[in-house]
Protein backbone atom coordinates (compact mmCIF):
# COMPACT_ATOMS: atom_id res chain seq x y z
CA UNK A 1 0.00 0.00 0.00
CA UNK A 2 2.86 2.37 0.92
CA UNK A 3 6.38 1.71 -0.24
CA UNK A 4 9.50 3.83 0.16
CA UNK A 5 12.51 2.64 -1.85
CA UNK A 6 15.92 4.17 -1.03
CA UNK A 7 14.31 7.55 -0.47
CA UNK A 8 16.48 10.57 0.20
CA UNK A 9 15.32 14.11 0.61
CA UNK A 10 17.58 17.13 0.61
CA UNK A 11 16.33 20.66 1.21
CA UNK A 12 18.33 23.49 -0.35
CA UNK A 13 18.74 25.38 2.93
CA UNK A 14 18.61 22.79 5.70
CA UNK A 15 20.40 19.96 3.88
CA UNK A 16 19.68 16.22 4.15
CA UNK A 17 16.37 15.38 5.84
CA UNK A 18 16.29 11.71 4.80
CA UNK A 19 18.96 9.34 3.53
CA UNK A 20 18.20 6.04 1.82
CA UNK A 21 15.01 5.20 3.71
CA UNK A 22 13.16 2.06 2.62
CA UNK A 23 10.11 0.38 4.15
CA UNK A 24 6.67 -0.91 3.22
CA UNK A 25 3.37 -0.52 5.02
CA UNK A 26 0.76 -3.09 4.12
CA UNK A 27 -2.96 -2.63 3.75
CA UNK A 28 -4.68 -2.25 7.14
CA UNK A 29 -1.38 -2.15 9.05
CA UNK A 30 -0.63 0.12 12.03
CA UNK A 31 2.90 1.46 12.55
CA UNK A 32 4.64 4.06 14.66
CA UNK A 33 7.24 6.29 13.12
CA UNK A 34 9.52 7.23 15.97
CA UNK A 35 12.64 9.24 16.56
CA UNK A 36 13.79 12.49 18.12
CA UNK A 37 12.88 15.90 16.72
CA UNK A 38 14.59 16.44 13.38
CA UNK A 39 14.91 12.71 12.68
CA UNK A 40 12.84 13.03 9.50
CA UNK A 41 9.42 11.77 10.66
CA UNK A 42 7.44 14.69 9.24
CA UNK A 43 9.38 14.50 5.97
CA UNK A 44 8.37 10.84 5.56
CA UNK A 45 4.69 11.75 6.09
CA UNK A 46 4.91 14.70 3.69
CA UNK A 47 6.49 12.44 1.05
CA UNK A 48 3.69 9.87 1.44
CA UNK A 49 1.13 12.67 1.15
CA UNK A 50 2.99 14.02 -1.91
CA UNK A 51 3.41 17.44 -0.33
CA UNK A 52 7.00 17.14 -1.44
CA UNK A 53 8.96 14.81 -3.74
CA UNK A 54 12.04 12.72 -2.96
CA UNK A 55 15.40 13.96 -4.15
CA UNK A 56 16.34 10.30 -4.79
CA UNK A 57 14.46 7.02 -4.67
CA UNK A 58 10.76 6.39 -5.08
CA UNK A 59 7.64 6.74 -2.96
CA UNK A 60 4.71 4.57 -3.99
CA UNK A 61 1.23 4.98 -2.50
CA UNK A 62 -1.38 2.59 -3.90
CA UNK A 63 -0.94 2.98 -7.68
CA UNK A 64 0.69 6.40 -7.49
CA UNK A 65 4.46 6.69 -7.79
CA UNK A 66 6.46 9.82 -6.99
CA UNK A 67 8.34 9.40 -10.27
CA UNK A 68 5.30 9.22 -12.51
CA UNK A 69 2.40 10.94 -10.74
CA UNK A 70 0.74 13.74 -12.70
CA UNK A 71 -0.05 17.04 -11.07
CA UNK A 72 -3.77 16.54 -11.62
CA UNK A 73 -3.72 13.13 -9.85
CA UNK A 74 -2.47 14.53 -6.55
CA UNK A 75 -5.93 15.51 -5.22
CA UNK A 76 -7.19 11.96 -5.87
CA UNK A 77 -4.21 10.54 -3.99
CA UNK A 78 -4.75 12.88 -1.05
CA UNK A 79 -8.36 11.74 -0.78
CA UNK A 80 -7.04 8.23 -0.16
CA UNK A 81 -4.58 9.42 2.48
CA UNK A 82 -6.03 11.27 5.49
CA UNK A 83 -3.71 13.54 7.47
CA UNK A 84 -3.93 14.56 11.13
CA UNK A 85 -1.62 17.18 12.66
CA UNK A 86 -0.32 17.96 16.10
CA UNK A 87 -1.87 21.47 15.92
CA UNK A 88 -5.22 20.15 14.60
CA UNK A 89 -5.45 22.76 11.79
CA UNK A 90 -9.13 23.50 12.42
CA UNK A 91 -10.79 26.68 11.19
CA UNK A 92 -11.58 28.70 14.29
CA UNK A 93 -14.52 30.56 12.75
CA UNK A 94 -16.35 27.30 11.97
CA UNK A 95 -18.10 24.89 14.33
CA UNK A 96 -16.97 21.28 14.67
CA UNK A 97 -19.68 20.21 12.22
CA UNK A 98 -18.79 22.96 9.77
CA UNK A 99 -15.11 22.00 9.88
CA UNK A 100 -16.02 18.48 8.83
CA UNK A 101 -18.57 19.76 6.29
CA UNK A 102 -15.87 21.99 4.81
CA UNK A 103 -13.80 18.93 3.84
CA UNK A 104 -16.85 17.21 2.36
CA UNK A 105 -17.77 20.29 0.33
CA UNK A 106 -14.20 20.68 -0.94
CA UNK A 107 -14.19 17.17 -2.40
CA UNK A 108 -17.51 17.78 -4.14
CA UNK A 109 -19.93 15.86 -1.91
CA UNK A 110 -23.53 16.65 -2.96
CA UNK A 111 -25.00 19.30 -0.66
CA UNK A 112 -27.95 17.13 0.43
CA UNK A 113 -25.61 14.39 1.68
CA UNK A 114 -23.29 16.59 3.72
CA UNK A 115 -25.35 17.03 6.92
CA UNK A 116 -25.96 13.28 7.30
CA UNK A 117 -22.34 12.39 6.69
CA UNK A 118 -21.10 15.03 9.12
CA UNK A 119 -23.39 13.58 11.79
CA UNK A 120 -22.08 10.05 11.14
CA UNK A 121 -18.43 11.16 11.15
CA UNK A 122 -18.77 13.09 14.41
CA UNK A 123 -20.59 10.13 15.98
CA UNK A 124 -17.76 7.86 14.84
CA UNK A 125 -15.24 9.93 16.79
CA UNK A 126 -17.59 10.35 19.76
CA UNK A 127 -18.33 14.03 19.29
CA UNK A 128 -21.93 14.14 18.03
CA UNK A 129 -22.95 16.18 21.08
CA UNK A 130 -20.34 18.89 20.39
CA UNK A 131 -21.24 19.44 16.71
CA UNK A 132 -22.15 23.08 17.23
CA UNK A 133 -19.12 24.00 19.34
CA UNK A 134 -16.31 26.05 17.91
CA UNK A 135 -12.74 24.77 18.32
CA UNK A 136 -12.08 27.37 21.03
CA UNK A 137 -14.89 25.81 23.08
CA UNK A 138 -13.44 22.28 22.82
CA UNK A 139 -10.71 20.54 24.78
CA UNK A 140 -7.49 19.50 23.03
CA UNK A 141 -8.64 15.90 22.77
CA UNK A 142 -11.98 16.96 21.32
CA UNK A 143 -10.30 19.20 18.77
CA UNK A 144 -8.13 16.32 17.64
CA UNK A 145 -11.23 14.16 17.28
CA UNK A 146 -12.78 16.80 15.05
CA UNK A 147 -9.56 16.79 13.00
CA UNK A 148 -9.78 13.00 12.72
CA UNK A 149 -13.44 13.21 11.65
CA UNK A 150 -12.41 15.70 8.96
CA UNK A 151 -9.57 13.43 7.81
CA UNK A 152 -12.07 10.56 7.54
CA UNK A 153 -14.45 12.63 5.41
CA UNK A 154 -12.76 11.44 2.21
CA UNK A 155 -12.98 7.79 3.37
CA UNK A 156 -9.22 7.30 3.19
CA UNK A 157 -7.52 3.90 3.15
CA UNK A 158 -4.51 5.34 4.94
CA UNK A 159 -4.34 7.73 7.89
CA UNK A 160 -1.13 9.67 8.51
CA UNK A 161 -0.80 11.33 11.92
CA UNK A 162 2.02 13.72 12.72
CA UNK A 163 2.46 13.86 16.52
CA UNK A 164 -1.34 13.75 16.99
CA UNK A 165 -1.05 13.42 20.77
CA UNK A 166 1.80 15.91 21.17
CA UNK A 167 -0.44 18.70 22.48
CA UNK A 168 -2.71 16.52 24.60
CA UNK A 169 -2.75 15.48 28.25
CA UNK A 170 -2.23 11.73 28.87
CA UNK A 171 -5.96 10.92 29.15
CA UNK A 172 -6.86 12.79 25.97
CA UNK A 173 -3.84 11.25 24.22
CA UNK A 174 -4.98 7.78 25.22
CA UNK A 175 -8.48 8.54 23.95
CA UNK A 176 -7.22 9.74 20.55
CA UNK A 177 -4.90 6.75 20.28
CA UNK A 178 -7.82 4.40 21.00
CA UNK A 179 -9.70 6.13 18.21
CA UNK A 180 -6.84 5.35 15.81
CA UNK A 181 -6.83 1.72 16.91
CA UNK A 182 -10.57 1.51 16.34
CA UNK A 183 -10.20 2.98 12.84
CA UNK A 184 -7.38 0.56 12.16
CA UNK A 185 -9.56 -2.37 13.22
CA UNK A 186 -12.10 -1.14 10.67
CA UNK A 187 -9.43 -1.50 7.96
CA UNK A 188 -7.65 1.84 7.74
CA UNK A 189 -3.85 1.66 7.64
CA UNK A 190 -2.35 4.07 10.19
CA UNK A 191 1.15 5.56 10.24
CA UNK A 192 1.60 7.64 13.37
CA UNK A 193 4.68 9.77 13.92
CA UNK A 194 5.60 10.39 17.55
CA UNK A 195 8.69 11.16 19.57
CA UNK A 196 7.13 9.78 22.78
CA UNK A 197 9.33 6.73 23.22
CA UNK A 198 7.64 5.61 26.49
CA UNK A 199 4.22 5.65 24.91
CA UNK A 200 5.48 3.64 21.91
CA UNK A 201 7.21 1.07 24.12
CA UNK A 202 3.91 0.37 25.90
CA UNK A 203 2.26 -0.60 22.60
CA UNK A 204 4.22 -3.78 22.03
CA UNK A 205 1.89 -5.20 19.41
CA UNK A 206 2.36 -2.27 17.05
CA UNK A 207 5.16 -2.09 14.49
CA UNK A 208 7.84 0.52 15.18
CA UNK A 209 9.90 2.28 12.51
CA UNK A 210 12.76 4.20 14.10
CA UNK A 211 14.38 7.17 12.40
CA UNK A 212 17.54 8.91 13.47
CA UNK A 213 19.39 11.63 11.59
CA UNK A 214 17.32 10.95 8.48
CA UNK A 215 18.12 7.20 8.42
CA UNK A 216 15.88 4.26 9.27
CA UNK A 217 17.76 2.67 12.15
CA UNK A 218 15.16 0.18 13.31
CA UNK A 219 12.07 -1.72 12.19
CA UNK A 220 10.41 -3.95 14.77
CA UNK A 221 8.83 -6.00 11.97
CA UNK A 222 12.19 -6.78 10.37
Amino acid sequence: MISLRKVSKTYPRSGDALRGVSFRLRKGEFAFLTGPSGAGKSTVLELIHFQTRPTEGEVQVSRYSSGRIRRRDIPALRRRVGFVFQDFKLLERLTAAENVAFALEVIGTPRREIAGRVQRLLSQVGLAARARSRPSELSGGERQRVAVARALATEPRILLADEPTGNLDPDAAAGVFELFRMLNRLGTAVLMATHDADFVRRQRDIRRLELEGGRLVGDSAA
Binding site: H49, R72, I74, R78, F83, L91, V106
Partner: protein
Protein backbone atom coordinates in the same frame (compact mmCIF):
# COMPACT_ATOMS: atom_id res chain seq x y z
CA UNK B 1 -21.66 29.19 -8.01
CA UNK B 2 -19.28 28.37 -5.15
CA UNK B 3 -16.59 30.49 -6.77
CA UNK B 4 -18.99 33.46 -6.89
CA UNK B 5 -20.05 32.82 -3.28
CA UNK B 6 -16.45 32.56 -2.11
CA UNK B 7 -15.34 35.64 -4.04
CA UNK B 8 -18.22 37.63 -2.52
CA UNK B 9 -17.43 36.21 0.91
CA UNK B 10 -13.87 37.39 0.47
CA UNK B 11 -15.14 40.91 -0.29
CA UNK B 12 -17.34 40.74 2.82
CA UNK B 13 -14.54 39.37 5.00
CA UNK B 14 -12.03 42.08 4.16
CA UNK B 15 -14.15 44.99 2.91
CA UNK B 16 -11.55 47.65 3.70
CA UNK B 17 -8.82 45.82 1.82
CA UNK B 18 -11.13 45.28 -1.14
CA UNK B 19 -12.26 48.92 -1.19
CA UNK B 20 -8.64 50.05 -0.98
CA UNK B 21 -7.64 47.74 -3.81
CA UNK B 22 -10.50 48.82 -6.04
CA UNK B 23 -9.76 52.47 -5.16
CA UNK B 24 -6.06 52.09 -5.92
CA UNK B 25 -6.73 50.29 -9.18
CA UNK B 26 -9.39 52.86 -10.01
CA UNK B 27 -6.93 55.67 -9.30
CA UNK B 28 -4.30 54.13 -11.57
CA UNK B 29 -6.85 53.62 -14.29
CA UNK B 30 -8.47 57.04 -13.91
CA UNK B 31 -5.11 58.62 -14.68
CA UNK B 32 -5.04 56.42 -17.75
CA UNK B 33 -8.63 57.47 -18.51
CA UNK B 34 -7.85 61.17 -18.13
CA UNK B 35 -4.79 60.80 -20.29
CA UNK B 36 -6.92 58.94 -22.82
CA UNK B 37 -9.41 61.81 -22.79
CA UNK B 38 -6.63 64.35 -23.34
CA UNK B 39 -4.98 62.20 -26.02
CA UNK B 40 -8.30 61.70 -27.75
CA UNK B 41 -8.95 65.45 -27.79
CA UNK B 42 -5.39 66.26 -28.94
CA UNK B 43 -5.91 63.64 -31.63
CA UNK B 44 -9.19 65.31 -32.59
CA UNK B 45 -7.52 68.73 -32.75
CA UNK B 46 -4.68 67.34 -34.82
CA UNK B 47 -7.23 65.72 -37.09
CA UNK B 48 -8.98 69.07 -37.56
CA UNK B 49 -5.70 70.75 -38.44
CA UNK B 50 -4.73 67.83 -40.64
CA UNK B 51 -7.93 68.16 -42.60
CA UNK B 52 -6.87 71.71 -43.44
CA UNK B 53 -3.54 70.62 -44.89
CA UNK B 54 -3.65 71.29 -48.61
CA UNK B 55 -1.25 71.40 -51.51
CA UNK B 56 -1.50 74.58 -53.55
CA UNK B 57 -0.22 74.85 -57.10
CA UNK B 58 0.10 78.39 -58.48
CA UNK B 59 -0.65 78.62 -62.19
CA UNK B 60 1.33 80.56 -64.78
CA UNK B 61 -0.70 83.40 -66.22
CA UNK B 62 -0.64 81.82 -69.68
CA UNK B 63 -2.00 78.47 -68.52
CA UNK B 64 -4.64 77.24 -70.97
CA UNK B 65 -8.07 76.42 -69.50
CA UNK B 66 -8.20 73.07 -71.32
CA UNK B 67 -4.93 71.80 -69.96
CA UNK B 68 -5.90 73.00 -66.46
CA UNK B 69 -9.22 71.14 -66.70
CA UNK B 70 -7.45 67.97 -67.90
CA UNK B 71 -4.95 68.20 -65.03
CA UNK B 72 -7.83 68.79 -62.60
CA UNK B 73 -9.51 65.56 -63.72
CA UNK B 74 -6.22 63.63 -63.45
CA UNK B 75 -5.52 64.98 -59.99
CA UNK B 76 -9.06 64.21 -58.78
CA UNK B 77 -8.60 60.62 -59.90
CA UNK B 78 -5.55 60.13 -57.65
CA UNK B 79 -6.35 57.87 -54.66
CA UNK B 80 -4.77 60.23 -52.15
CA UNK B 81 -6.68 63.29 -53.36
CA UNK B 82 -9.98 64.08 -51.64
CA UNK B 83 -10.87 67.21 -53.60
CA UNK B 84 -9.43 69.69 -56.08
CA UNK B 85 -10.58 73.31 -56.06
CA UNK B 86 -9.72 75.96 -58.63
CA UNK B 87 -9.23 79.52 -57.35
CA UNK B 88 -9.21 82.10 -60.14
CA UNK B 89 -7.05 85.26 -60.12
CA UNK B 90 -10.12 87.39 -59.29
CA UNK B 91 -11.16 85.10 -56.48
CA UNK B 92 -7.61 85.16 -55.08
CA UNK B 93 -7.62 88.96 -55.06
CA UNK B 94 -11.06 89.09 -53.47
CA UNK B 95 -9.93 86.68 -50.76
CA UNK B 96 -6.73 88.67 -50.15
CA UNK B 97 -8.73 91.85 -49.72
CA UNK B 98 -11.04 90.11 -47.29
CA UNK B 99 -8.45 88.15 -45.27
CA UNK B 100 -5.55 90.59 -45.23
CA UNK B 101 -7.32 93.69 -43.98
CA UNK B 102 -4.09 95.50 -43.15
CA UNK B 103 -3.12 95.42 -46.85
CA UNK B 104 -6.59 96.38 -48.10
CA UNK B 105 -5.35 99.77 -49.30
CA UNK B 106 -2.57 98.16 -51.34
CA UNK B 107 -4.95 95.68 -52.93
CA UNK B 108 -7.54 98.40 -53.43
CA UNK B 109 -5.22 100.58 -55.53
CA UNK B 110 -4.02 97.81 -57.81
CA UNK B 111 -4.74 98.25 -61.54
CA UNK B 112 -3.34 94.85 -62.47
CA UNK B 113 -4.11 91.76 -60.46
CA UNK B 114 -0.69 90.31 -59.46
CA UNK B 115 -2.06 87.21 -57.79
CA UNK B 116 -1.97 83.93 -59.72
CA UNK B 117 -4.82 81.49 -60.14
CA UNK B 118 -4.27 78.28 -58.17
CA UNK B 119 -5.32 74.66 -57.71
CA UNK B 120 -5.97 73.59 -54.08
CA UNK B 121 -5.67 69.88 -53.34
CA UNK B 122 -7.14 68.39 -50.14
CA UNK B 123 -5.81 64.95 -49.24
CA UNK B 124 -7.77 62.00 -47.93
CA UNK B 125 -7.37 60.78 -44.34
CA UNK B 126 -4.41 58.42 -44.11
CA UNK B 127 -2.58 60.29 -46.92
CA UNK B 128 -1.68 63.35 -44.88
CA UNK B 129 1.78 62.24 -43.73
CA UNK B 130 4.61 64.64 -44.75
CA UNK B 131 5.99 62.21 -47.34
CA UNK B 132 2.64 61.77 -49.11
CA UNK B 133 1.98 65.50 -49.06
CA UNK B 134 5.45 66.14 -50.49
CA UNK B 135 4.97 63.51 -53.22
CA UNK B 136 1.61 65.01 -54.22
CA UNK B 137 3.17 68.49 -54.34
CA UNK B 138 5.85 67.05 -56.65
CA UNK B 139 3.18 65.60 -58.95
CA UNK B 140 1.41 68.93 -59.07
CA UNK B 141 4.63 70.86 -59.70
CA UNK B 142 5.42 68.57 -62.65
CA UNK B 143 2.62 70.12 -64.76
CA UNK B 144 4.20 72.67 -67.13
CA UNK B 145 1.59 75.35 -66.36
CA UNK B 146 2.32 75.20 -62.61
CA UNK B 147 4.79 77.81 -61.54
CA UNK B 148 5.17 76.62 -57.98
CA UNK B 149 3.59 74.08 -55.59
CA UNK B 150 3.51 74.72 -51.83
CA UNK B 151 2.23 72.76 -48.90
CA UNK B 152 3.80 74.27 -45.76
CA UNK B 153 6.33 71.47 -45.40
CA UNK B 154 7.73 72.55 -42.05
CA UNK B 155 4.28 72.99 -40.57
CA UNK B 156 3.12 69.54 -41.66
CA UNK B 157 6.25 67.93 -40.25
CA UNK B 158 5.82 69.69 -36.89
CA UNK B 159 2.22 68.59 -36.72
CA UNK B 160 3.18 64.98 -37.22
CA UNK B 161 6.05 65.22 -34.73
CA UNK B 162 3.53 66.47 -32.15
CA UNK B 163 1.25 63.58 -32.89
CA UNK B 164 4.08 61.02 -32.65
CA UNK B 165 5.17 62.52 -29.33
CA UNK B 166 1.58 62.33 -28.05
CA UNK B 167 1.31 58.67 -29.12
CA UNK B 168 4.67 57.78 -27.53
CA UNK B 169 3.70 59.51 -24.28
CA UNK B 170 0.35 57.73 -24.31
CA UNK B 171 2.09 54.39 -24.73
CA UNK B 172 4.68 55.07 -22.02
CA UNK B 173 2.23 56.46 -19.46
CA UNK B 174 -0.45 53.95 -20.35
CA UNK B 175 2.00 51.06 -20.01
CA UNK B 176 3.35 52.45 -16.75
CA UNK B 177 -0.04 52.83 -15.14
CA UNK B 178 -1.20 49.46 -16.44
CA UNK B 179 1.85 47.95 -14.75
CA UNK B 180 1.00 49.72 -11.49
CA UNK B 181 -2.55 48.37 -11.73
CA UNK B 182 -1.25 44.82 -12.35
CA UNK B 183 1.10 45.03 -9.36
CA UNK B 184 -1.75 46.25 -7.17
CA UNK B 185 -4.02 43.39 -8.21
CA UNK B 186 -1.20 40.85 -7.77
CA UNK B 187 -0.68 42.19 -4.24
CA UNK B 188 -4.40 42.31 -3.46
CA UNK B 189 -4.96 38.73 -4.55
CA UNK B 190 -1.80 37.63 -2.77
CA UNK B 191 -3.07 39.22 0.43
CA UNK B 192 -6.45 37.56 -0.06
CA UNK B 193 -4.68 34.21 -0.49
CA UNK B 194 -2.53 34.81 2.59
CA UNK B 195 -5.63 35.85 4.56
CA UNK B 196 -7.17 32.50 3.65
CA UNK B 197 -3.94 30.55 4.00
CA UNK B 198 -5.34 28.15 6.61
CA UNK B 199 -8.40 27.32 4.51
CA UNK B 200 -6.30 26.78 1.43
CA UNK B 201 -3.90 24.53 3.30
CA UNK B 202 -6.79 22.41 4.57
CA UNK B 203 -8.31 22.24 1.08
CA UNK B 204 -5.01 21.00 -0.30
CA UNK B 205 -4.63 18.45 2.49
CA UNK B 206 -8.08 16.91 2.06
CA UNK B 207 -7.67 16.67 -1.72
CA UNK B 208 -9.29 19.71 -3.33
CA UNK B 209 -8.60 20.09 -7.02
CA UNK B 210 -6.35 22.98 -7.99
CA UNK B 211 -9.06 24.69 -10.02
CA UNK B 212 -11.49 24.47 -7.10
CA UNK B 213 -9.09 26.46 -4.92
CA UNK B 214 -8.05 28.90 -7.61
CA UNK B 215 -11.40 29.86 -9.14
CA UNK B 216 -12.65 32.23 -6.38
CA UNK B 217 -9.35 34.13 -6.45
CA UNK B 218 -9.40 34.41 -10.23
CA UNK B 219 -12.96 35.68 -10.05
CA UNK B 220 -11.99 38.09 -7.28
CA UNK B 221 -9.14 39.44 -9.43
CA UNK B 222 -11.42 39.88 -12.43
CA UNK B 223 -14.16 41.54 -10.36
CA UNK B 224 -11.61 43.83 -8.64
CA UNK B 225 -10.22 44.82 -12.03
CA UNK B 226 -13.72 45.32 -13.42
CA UNK B 227 -14.79 47.43 -10.42
CA UNK B 228 -11.59 49.48 -10.66
CA UNK B 229 -12.22 49.96 -14.39
CA UNK B 230 -15.81 51.10 -13.81
CA UNK B 231 -14.69 53.43 -11.02
CA UNK B 232 -12.07 54.93 -13.34
CA UNK B 233 -14.67 55.28 -16.08
CA UNK B 234 -17.02 57.12 -13.71
CA UNK B 235 -14.26 59.43 -12.44
CA UNK B 236 -13.10 60.17 -16.00
CA UNK B 237 -16.67 60.98 -16.99
CA UNK B 238 -16.93 63.29 -13.99
CA UNK B 239 -13.74 65.07 -15.05
CA UNK B 240 -15.14 65.35 -18.57
CA UNK B 241 -18.24 67.10 -17.21
CA UNK B 242 -16.52 69.23 -14.55
CA UNK B 243 -13.40 70.50 -16.34
CA UNK B 244 -15.03 72.55 -19.12
CA UNK B 245 -17.43 74.05 -16.53
CA UNK B 246 -14.58 75.00 -14.14
CA UNK B 247 -12.02 76.08 -16.71
CA UNK B 248 -13.54 78.35 -19.35
CA UNK B 249 -10.32 78.09 -21.40
CA UNK B 250 -11.41 74.56 -22.26
CA UNK B 251 -14.25 75.30 -24.63
CA UNK B 252 -15.43 71.77 -25.08
CA UNK B 253 -14.17 68.22 -24.80
CA UNK B 254 -15.06 65.23 -26.90
CA UNK B 255 -16.00 62.11 -24.87
CA UNK B 256 -14.04 58.93 -25.48
CA UNK B 257 -15.35 56.59 -28.19
CA UNK B 258 -17.54 53.80 -26.78
CA UNK B 259 -15.11 51.22 -28.13
CA UNK B 260 -12.32 52.79 -26.05
CA UNK B 261 -14.36 52.82 -22.84
CA UNK B 262 -15.65 49.27 -23.35
CA UNK B 263 -12.15 48.06 -24.23
CA UNK B 264 -10.72 49.91 -21.21
CA UNK B 265 -13.14 48.31 -18.74
CA UNK B 266 -12.74 44.88 -20.36
CA UNK B 267 -8.96 45.28 -20.29
CA UNK B 268 -9.14 46.20 -16.58
CA UNK B 269 -11.10 43.00 -15.88
CA UNK B 270 -8.68 40.97 -18.03
CA UNK B 271 -5.70 42.53 -16.26
CA UNK B 272 -7.29 41.67 -12.92
CA UNK B 273 -7.78 38.08 -14.05
CA UNK B 274 -4.22 37.75 -15.36
CA UNK B 275 -2.70 39.36 -12.27
CA UNK B 276 -4.78 37.04 -10.05
CA UNK B 277 -3.73 34.03 -12.15
CA UNK B 278 -0.09 34.97 -11.68
CA UNK B 279 -0.52 35.39 -7.95
CA UNK B 280 -2.60 32.22 -7.52
CA UNK B 281 -0.19 30.15 -9.57
CA UNK B 282 2.69 31.28 -7.37
CA UNK B 283 0.94 30.95 -4.03
CA UNK B 284 -1.41 27.99 -4.51
CA UNK B 285 0.12 26.06 -7.39
CA UNK B 286 3.33 25.15 -5.61
CA UNK B 287 1.48 22.71 -3.34
CA UNK B 288 0.76 20.57 -6.41
CA UNK B 289 3.97 21.03 -8.34
CA UNK B 290 7.19 19.09 -7.84
CA UNK B 291 9.55 20.32 -5.13
Amino acid sequence: MRAVREALASFRRTPLLCVLSIGAIGLSLVILGLFGLVAHNIGGAIGDVERRVEVVGYLLDDAGPEEVRAAWRELEALPEVESVRYVSKDEALERARRDLVEFSNVYGELRVNPLPASLHLRLREGFRAPETVSETAGLLAAYPFIEEARFGEEWVERLFALRSAAAATALALGGGFALVAVLLIVTTVRMAILARGEEIEIMQIVGAREGYIQRPFLLEGAVTGLAGGLLALGATRLAYVVFPARFPAIESLAWLPHLWTAAGVAAAAALGLLAAAFSVHREVGRAYGPS
